[in-house]
């Protein structure tokens, strides 16, 4: 039934902590999950530098200054590593200079880049390049977070007769952790149009004295929302090719 047999997890505009490369890690993780848990053939290619693409969209002159290179078209082995054509803007990493890229620290910083998802021509070109797959892209915010306050936890107590009881104890705690806020955008590789987008939010907090690496927290939080992502994708069989209207 589905018109999509292949999926391209193109890349993400990511921000938040510098400890985790949200673009690279999310792309890798989703590809590996889709490979093992979906029937779609996953296109294995370089991660698109979407921030640079968004900057180029705003500075077309800079993009046009890039020399054009020509490369042979893909041989159709869509689940093998494919070399994208350089004519698709943004695929030359040096196209945007670092000073053009503002650091993304919170959701508001993402706004200047989000127009890239509505760039139908760009996504259509990417779609043509990879034989019209379903394209998965979006934004990923992974930010450190600290919260202090009264926390209720259960504590074992033993009375004078040695009987065990569990009682709720309220204590003041300082906790720190991370918030993961991905927005997955599904694009039709044939038309370049956005088919569906979905926002997620997960957070985790640890005791302040606990030292958990950012990458571990990232995977912990992604683990929680991967089932929802996969289920969105499976119901995408129809939504991916048809548009429900209000």
């Amino acid at each position: 039934m589905s018109a999509f047999q292949r999926v391209l997890v193109a890349g993400f505009i990511a921000g938040g902590t510098d400890d985790v490369d949200g673009n690279l890690e999310t792309t890798r993780l989703l590809r590996s999950q889709l490979r093992t848990k979906s029937e779609l053939r996953v296109i294995d290619t370089d991660v698109l530098p979407l921030m640079e693409v968004a900057v180029e969209d705003n500075h077309p002159a800079a993009a046009n200054a890039e020399p054009e290179k020509s490369e042979p078209a893909s041989d159709g082995r869509t689940d093998q590593k494919a070399e994208p054509k350089n004519e698709v803007k943004g695929e030359a990493p040096q196209a945007a200079t670092p000073e053009k890229l503002a650091a993304i620290k919170d959701a508001k910083d993402l706004e200047p880049y989000e127009h890239v998802f509505a760039d139908v021509e760009y996504w259509k070109k990417i779609g043509e390049e990879y034989q019209s797959p379903l394209i998965v892209t979006g934004t990923v915010m992974f930010t450190p977070h600290a919260r202090s306050g009264i926390v209720q936890r259960e504590e074992e107590v033993y009375d004078s007769f040695g009987r065990r009881r569990v009682v709720p104890v309220r204590t003041y705690m300082e906790r720190k952790g991370y918030i993961l806020q991905p927005k997955f955008i599904f694009i039709d590789g044939r038309t370049g149009t956005v088919l569906h987008s979905e926002n997620f939010r997960e957070e985790v907090l640890y005791n302040a004295n606990q030292s958990t690496p950012a990458l571990s927290s990232y995977f912990e939080l992604m683990d929680r929302l991967i089932p929802s992502f996969l289920s969105t994708l499976s119901s995408q069989k129809i939504k991916g090719t048809r548009v429900l209207l209000q």
């Binding site: 039934m1 038309t191 119901s235 048809r242 429900l244 209207l245 209000q246």
Partner: protein
């Protein structure tokens, strides 16, 4: 008498527009609920909602479009075709409905063609098999 008739006609004409607006608003609620449940994979419930929407407001092309998608999802392709065609009759210039219908036709035609080819292949195989079996029997 004539005055009364004029007043009655005026009242009727002013009440028709809000009634139509109410119908669309009621139907829209059904459509929105249908979308919410379809996104959770509850397509039968979605069909019920969108059928209700088209009963409330038979000129609601978007509801017919969604109904067609749901029928398609449930494999009821004939009903899907009818719903798409009704939706397009109501809104012939709606690009999204047109796109949905084109994709439906493309996949439906391909499936139908494949089914008929498979059925032809299986008939050929059966015929060869029975010939072979017959040959074996006769041997």
């Amino acid at each position: 008498m004539r005055m009364r008739f004029t007043i009655a006609l005026f009242l009727l004409s002013t009440s028709v527009v809000p009634l139509a607006a109410d119908a669309r608003s009621d139907a829209k609620k059904q459509v929105e609920f249908g979308i919410a449940v379809a996104q959770r994979g509850l397509w039968r419930e979605a069909i019920y909602r969108w059928e209700r929407a088209t009963q409330i407001d038979p000129k609601y092309a978007e509801a017919l479009n969604n109904l067609a998608i749901a029928y398609e999802h449930e494999g009821d392709l004939e009903k899907a075709r009818v719903a798409y065609e009704k939706a397009l009759e109501l809104e012939p210039n709606n690009a999204l409905i047109k796109q949905n219908y084109e994709l439906f036709k493309e996949i439906n035609d391909r499936t139908t063609r494949k089914d008929s080819e498979d059925s032809q292949d299986s008939q050929d195989t059966q015929s060869q098999g029975s010939q072979a079996a017959g040959t074996q029997v006769s041997q």
